[in-house]
Structures are given as C-alpha cells and as structure tokens.
Amino acid sequence: MNNAVPVNSTTRAVGSVMRRELSGYFATPVAWVFIVIFLVMAGVFTFYIGSFYERGIADLAPYFQFHPWLYLFLVPAIAMRLWAEERRSGTVELLLTLPVTTWQAVVGKFLAAWLFIGIALGLTFPIWLTVNYLGEPDNGVILAGYIGSWLMAGGFLAIGSCMSAVTRNQVVAFILSVVVCFGFLLSGLPMVMNLFSGWAPQVLLDLIADFSFISRFGSISKGVLDLRDLTYFALVIVFWLIANTVVLDLRKAD
C-alpha cells in the first residue's frame, strides 16, 4: 500500500505530461509535416536508392538500411523543440512547479515524442503489405527490423532531448543533436576511431567502437534480437534522459 501510492502518482504525472505533449503534436502542423516527409523520404530511399524492386529479394533490408540516416536529421527536428521551446516560452516554469518531478517531465515528453515517431514508423505498413504481396518474406525479421528501428529512434531522440535542454535556441539544439547523433552513428568507423587512436587506451577504443548505432541496428534488422543489443539501446536512452534531467535542473534558471 505504501508503495502503491508513489508508483501511481508517478504514472499519472508521466501520463499527463505525455498526453499533453502528444496532443500538442497534432494541434500544430509539426505532426503532419513530419509524417509526410518521413513517409516520402522512406519511400524514396527504399525504391530509388535501395533498389527495392531491382534486387528481386522479398525482404525489407533496402527499407531499413537507410533508417539511421533518415533519423539523423528527422529525429533531431522533432527533439529540438522538446525543451528549448518550453524554456523560450516560459512554460518550463509552469510545468516544473506543478507537482511533477523533472525526471517525470523528461520521461513524459520523451515517451510522447517516441510514440509519435512510432506512429510515423507504423504508417509505413504499406511497404510491408507490398513485400508480402510480391513474395514470401520472413515476417519475423521484418518485425525485428521495426523494433530495432524504433529503439534506434529512441536513442537519437534521447540525445536530441538532452541537447534541447542545453539551449533555448532550437536551431542550436538541432545542430548539436545532429552532431552528437552523427558521432554515435559513426563511432566504430575509421573516421571517428582515428580521432581517438594514438592517445586513448584500448579499453576506451573498444568502448567507442561498441557504441555504434549502425552495427547494433544492423544485427537487429537482420532478425537477431540479441539481448545485448536491446540492452544497449535501453541504456543509451536511460543515460541521455538522466543527462537531460541534470542539464535541465542546472540550466532552467537562465
């Protein structure tokens, strides 16, 4: 009983922040613009650059392989307003003087944006119907691809949300989060490793190489739902949301 009350009130606080945020997306053109652009871009990448038809293979690899690059720009575009906008308009003062902790507000806003991206991702279902019409794909692999893609979007989003708390300027928030996301995307590739090799210890090098979104996502989208990869994305999300909370508490005054 003693435990039930706080858990309940946490759920309620997170839930009300999340619902408000989510309805906010659809009250403005942001949601529709994002969804349309996401669907168009996903289509363009899959059919033109990914040669979906020409390959003649019944799977969604050409669709999923471009998701990291699609998210690199589209997710920071969603994330940039999360806190920068609250601080610019002063509503952060309203929100954080309600009986809602900073962590609850951070999680609520993150979940709303994540669900929203999930909706956009879900709306690409015609491509799944198409591939099932054309051939007999492994739907388990496709499901894994969707799960992996959504998790990766969550990682990008958590980074973007934290960057959005750093500044009240949305353009700065956007650029910062693209840069950090780019780093996470490419870590493990030579161009990032070269920055560290020579001076950083091997342990750190291995760690950085392990941080690559692309290799993690790659294995999930091949249908390998490894617990380590899932944990990796979960940890990335939690880490950046904690950082987000700390940054917000430090910087909400100015």
Binding site: S16, L94, L96, K252
Partner: protein, 311 residues
Amino acid sequence: MSQVRVEARALIKRYGNLTAVRDLEFEIGSGEVLGFLGPNGAGKSTTMKMLTGFLAPSSGTAIINGHDIVEDSLAARRCMGYLPEGAPAYGEMTVRAFLEFVAGARGYSGAEARSRAAAALERLNLSRVPEQPIETLSKGFKRRVGLAQAILHDPDVLILDEPTDGLDPNQKHEVRTLIREMAADKIIVISTHILEEVAAVCNRAMIIADGRLLVDDTPAGLLKRSRYHNAVTLEVDQPERAASVLSELSQARKVEIREGEVTVFPAEGAELLEVVSGVVREQGWAVRELRLEKGRMDEVFRQVTQQEVAA
C-alpha cells in the same frame, strides 16, 4: 484545519558571482495578502521561483504549510498555486484542454479533472472561450487563464508574479477583486512594481532591493514613513502669500510650493488640518482645493530603495 504558514529561512540565491537574494527571512500567516515591492532586478521573481520549487536555493529553505521546499518539494508544490511572470501557457492548446492538463498533473483524474477545469473556467469568466487556442486570446484573457490554472486546486498558498502587469484598468480591477475575494483563508503573495496595487489589495508589504528585505510593514505603515504623511495641501489664488502666512504657524515644520499648490508639513505629532482650515477662514482666501495627505507611496519607495543603493 491548522493555520496555513509560509516561512522563509535564510533564503539565499547566487548566480555565479551575483547574489540575487541575500538571506531573506520572513513568516506569513493565513489571511495575509503580501505584496513584494522592489525595483526591477531586486530579487522578487527569484524569491518567488524559490518558494514555488522552480529554483533550488543556494542555501536556506522555505517551509510551506509544514513542507520543506528543498526536502519535500512535491508536497510543498501541491499546496501552492503559482502564476509565473507573463502567465506562460501552451499556446496551441485550447483553454479547456490546458486547464484539464493542469488538473491531471495535479493528480485529479477523469471526471474530477473536468469538473475542476470547468469550475476554474467559470470563476475566471472564461466560459465564453473554452475551445479557443490560448495563443489567439488577448492579453487579459491569457492572464485569466494563468490565474485559472493557479487556483484550480484551491491551494492554501497562492503566489502571483506581477498578476496585473500589462492589463488595462478594467482587467486590473477584475484581478484585484478576485484576489480580495480569495484572501480570507489563504496566503497570497503578489509581486508588483505598481505601488497603488499594494494599497488596493495587500494588507502587508515588503520592499526588497538588491536581494535584501528593507521594509516589512502594512501599506498604511509604509505611508506613515512618507514625509507627506499628515501634510496638508491647498490650492489658492496667491500661493506665495499663503505660504508665508502658513509658515508662521507653530505646528508647521516646513512649507513648499509646487505647481501652484502649497503643501504644509506638520511638526512632530502636530494635527494640521484644523489649524490650516482655521487660517483659511480667517484670511478669507479663495481655496479651490484643500486636502489632507495620507502619504505618497512612490516617495517612500524611492526613499527606501535609493538609500540602499547609496549606502
């Protein structure tokens, strides 16, 4: 129910090298409407942000209704309603959706949240605009929306940062009436730089400058500090002649002429009104106006705050 109290204990807020609030210490009891007065940048808003749990104090704390704002911030916030400066709100939301969101975040669920929001709409005369997006509303309406969210849970403590700033005289009157109506069983703290507001709604006033509490008094007490307190001002045809006659009075400490008006300042403890009107009758002056000054708030304000700056 026990008495509502707000206590500030050695509140200090530093931003880097700048100390915005220095060692504030005060107690407020229920029924009090406290006006925070002070020049811009005096630390009024910072103090309110600490009381409401938005900013953590650098040291010290405040106790709201028995809840420490540092140790038990959520419980303290639950018994407070807060109108931040400029009444920020989510512009794309409708008035009703916004109020229902605040009700939800305050822990009311479903039907109760809706009825709380509806009651607040009613109370603030927002019933004409419940489905309008907040960003399309006029300044006065936006302020009312901000007040509606602050009072929705019927808080014991209401903290309003410049509630009437930028409103037209009718809207100011409305807001002040509302504050007076709610005052009886609550603690209300308002910050303002409009001096007449303090006389209009507050029963206690604090002047803050440079982060320090300089004066803590009733509005009447503040007026008593004015050199105009109990002075008599009259408008006559020949101010110079009147001034020279009046300066002969033993009850007069000093006589000044300003813009054709003669002001007689009383000597310590003297009652001037009777005496001056006696002289007027005696001399048969044509007096267009004769008034007893209560004191001038702006003068006290300048005197208190500038003394501080000089010192």
